[in-house]
């Protein structure tokens, strides 16, 4: 138990009367990337939102390092070291890049302290601090998201389809950032993805969500290839 950063047990949640996530149990260890794969509408985003506290679960538990946080509100989760990078409405488009980054940290003092450490990872973002975030290109916005996530010094990141619409070079860049975050900083990642190659290139383990349930899971090694899994995920 104790080496798991996050443990879910029999988590069920949804909206109104519809169960979108059903009996999901999983755990993530420190410094591990767990890829949750599945098509659109299979409950992946809802799973992240439930962990984060935006959606209250119908049943089951969310344990963050031995602490039951099933009913914790989102800001408490964020302050306990969980960084959520949602898929939609992710930035404040009318705020400057700098303000968006500042919102990743609780205090401006910490923000200034941590900024230099982040700089080498995202050189292009930091050149545009005064620009409005909405004017960044899609790829730059994704980078800004990662940057904002990392500057909060999270222990766990919940990342929702970060590669969507990214060009290959950017996807590689993103993979690099995530691997460094895991290996150098010991950050655990729950990675919701449709981009199989990307997910499998960095994840330690994977699981496949279908209609809200885990239908398959395993360790990512050379045996697991995207072709095998794509049966579940086929376009």
């Amino acid at each position: 138990m104790s080496d798991a950063i996050l443990t879910l047990s029999d988590l069920t949640s949804g909206y109104g009367s519809a169960s979108v996530v059903r009996d999901v149990s999983l755990d993530i260890k420190q410094g591990e990337i767990l890829a949750v794969l599945g098509k659109n509408g299979m409950g992946k985003s809802t799973l992240l939102k439930t962990i984060m506290g935006f959606v209250s679960p119908f049943g089951g538990q969310v344990i963050l390092r031995d602490k039951n946080v099933t009913k914790a509100p989102p800001h408490t989760m964020a302050r306990s070291g969980v960084a959520h990078i949602p898929q939609e409405n992710t930035l404040f488009p009318d705020l400057s890049v700098e303000d968006n980054l500042r919102l990743g940290v609780n205090s401006d003092r910490l923000f200034r302290q941590r900024l230099p450490a982040i700089e080498p990872l995202f050189p292009r973002i930091l050149e545009r601090m005064k620009q409005r975030a909405g004017t960044l290109s899609g790829g730059e916005q994704k980078m800004l998201l990662m940057c904002r996530g990392l500057i909060s010094h999270p222990r766990l990141m919940l990342i929702d389809e970060i590669t969507e619409g990214l060009q290959p070079a950017m996807v590689d860049r993103m993979a690099e950032v995530l691997v460094r975050a895991r290996d150098d900083l010991g950050i655990s990642v729950l990675l919701v993805e449709q981009h199989l190659d990307f997910a499998l290139s960095i994840a330690n383990r994977f699981m496949i969500l279908k209609l809200g349930e885990i239908v398959e899971q395993g360790v990512v090694d050379s045996q697991v290839t995207s072709d095998q899994l794509s049966a579940h995920l086929a376009v």
């Binding site: 909405g134 969507e164 619409g165 376009v235």
Partner: protein
Amino acid sequence: MPKSEITLSRTHRTALVGCLVGLCAVAVAPFFLDTYFTNVLIRTLLLAAVVMTVDILWGYTGILTFGQSAFFGIGAYACGLVFTHYGFGPGWALGGLALALGSAAIVAAGTGWLAFFHGSSPIYASIITLALPIVLTQVIYSGGSYTGSSSGLSGFPTYFWSLEVWFWIAGSFLVSTTTAGWLLVRSDFGRVLVAIRENEDRSAYLGIPVSRIKTMLMVFAAMVASVAGFAYAAFSNVVAPELAGFQLGTELLIWTALGGRATLLGPVFAAIGIDTMSSWLSGAMPFIWKLLTGIAFVGVIVALPRGLAPLISGLWNRLRPQRHAIPFEANIVKASATRMLQGSFGDAPPLRIEGLSRRYGSLEVLSGVNLVGKGTELLGVIGPNGAGKTTLMRCISDGKERTTGTLYINNVEIASSSPQQVVGLGVGRSFQNTNLFETLTVSECLKLARYRIDGTSLFSRSDTIALPQPSLDILQATGLDKKLSEQTQNLSHGMKRGLELAMVLATEPSVLLLDEPTAGLTRPERMAIGSVLTKLTREFGLCIVLIEHDLDFVRAISDRVVVLHQGAILMEGTVEEVVASDLVKAVYAGHKEEEVA
């Protein structure tokens, strides 16, 4: 409409009994009351009728109005002004009453025009109703000796009938208006009001003219209030600006809140009880009395939002022997010769979109979309999240949404039509989320959807709902036809989806916009919906635009697929073509070069 029968419905029977009991009470009461109480009650009964209208506006329809006193004041001043300045007699009295009704109706219509339009916020509407009595009082003040300014008008000739007569007039006015109100809120139209309160937007998308209904309701409520005001002035022989003031308007709201909003009788009794009590107590402790009502008001709003009436009726229900509630059972019949079945709309395609774009500030969500939807065609719209699919739906169903572009529905340009007008052109839209009208039953929801075509009855409930064949099919396929008297909040997710679809179909659209109609459904449910959709296009000639993530589902039913990406159409073709396309694969898998678009 069913032929009227001699037997009364249960609702009408209850209303009749209640009305008779009320009239009896009014008839005998003066003989048991002393002069003082009769005097106090005559005024209070008239005010209670106004409170009843506040409850219909606020409690049932969700229009928080501070301005109902203005119409009361208009009625009172119509009486005062006519009798003071023009003449007195039966003719003048009727003329004054007509003046009261007419000017109240005109002012209410103007207020409605100001306060209710598609996209106006409820807070804005409330402020307008607050401004109304303030402006009106100002006008009265500046009327000099014509309106009597601050002093009001007094001592004008009036009918000095005995107190009993006035009591009977006031009492029967209250009883009759309350009976009418009671029937109204229990009629099909009453359900429409509740629907507007619970989900104004969705009502508009079912083709219900929300703003017009609100305005009309305001006009009728204003007319009732003005008659009450007229009688008040004629009885008390006094009119003063405070009768039109917002203080009285707020008091009406307070009584409604304390009595229990949307209970109709609660506010009426609260008005009678509290106003009588305050006649007693405010003399003894004027400041404390106001303070206590203020505190009670805040307390009730925060802790007992439904007021005191539910507490009392709850107690009553526990005390009396349990009666079997007979659920309201509706008959579903097939609508005769519906538009859908007629099929033909000429040669023009049902849906034509030219150069559509939508910008939010600097963000361009849709740009230069051209699209034609033919009859008998199921057009799948796919694309990654954020591609602008839902925005596209919104632009088709609300003329005010798009930034540029032209849109034709059945060859009619939609210009800047409001959603209910677009529904009238033949567009039906279902939504992603399924929060329908929580407290309405399935049959009430279906009736709601037929509002545009079948209209609604003001004071009764029809037990027959005529639905087009496809709606019936959906009801059967999902088993909803067995649950017609169930409240929608108790339905399963799949059933809600089915109901949503059945409702949209009940509006008899020629273009059907479906936003992920199968999200969160089980496989058999999906298949059932899929076959209904296929049937809709093949047999009923509908043009369906379907947003869907599940490509298997799309493949099974769709003729043509449009891929939307970053607000523009990336490609168009059959499902097979699209699936085979590397471009689309790339978009979905995330390999796509940004430059491609």
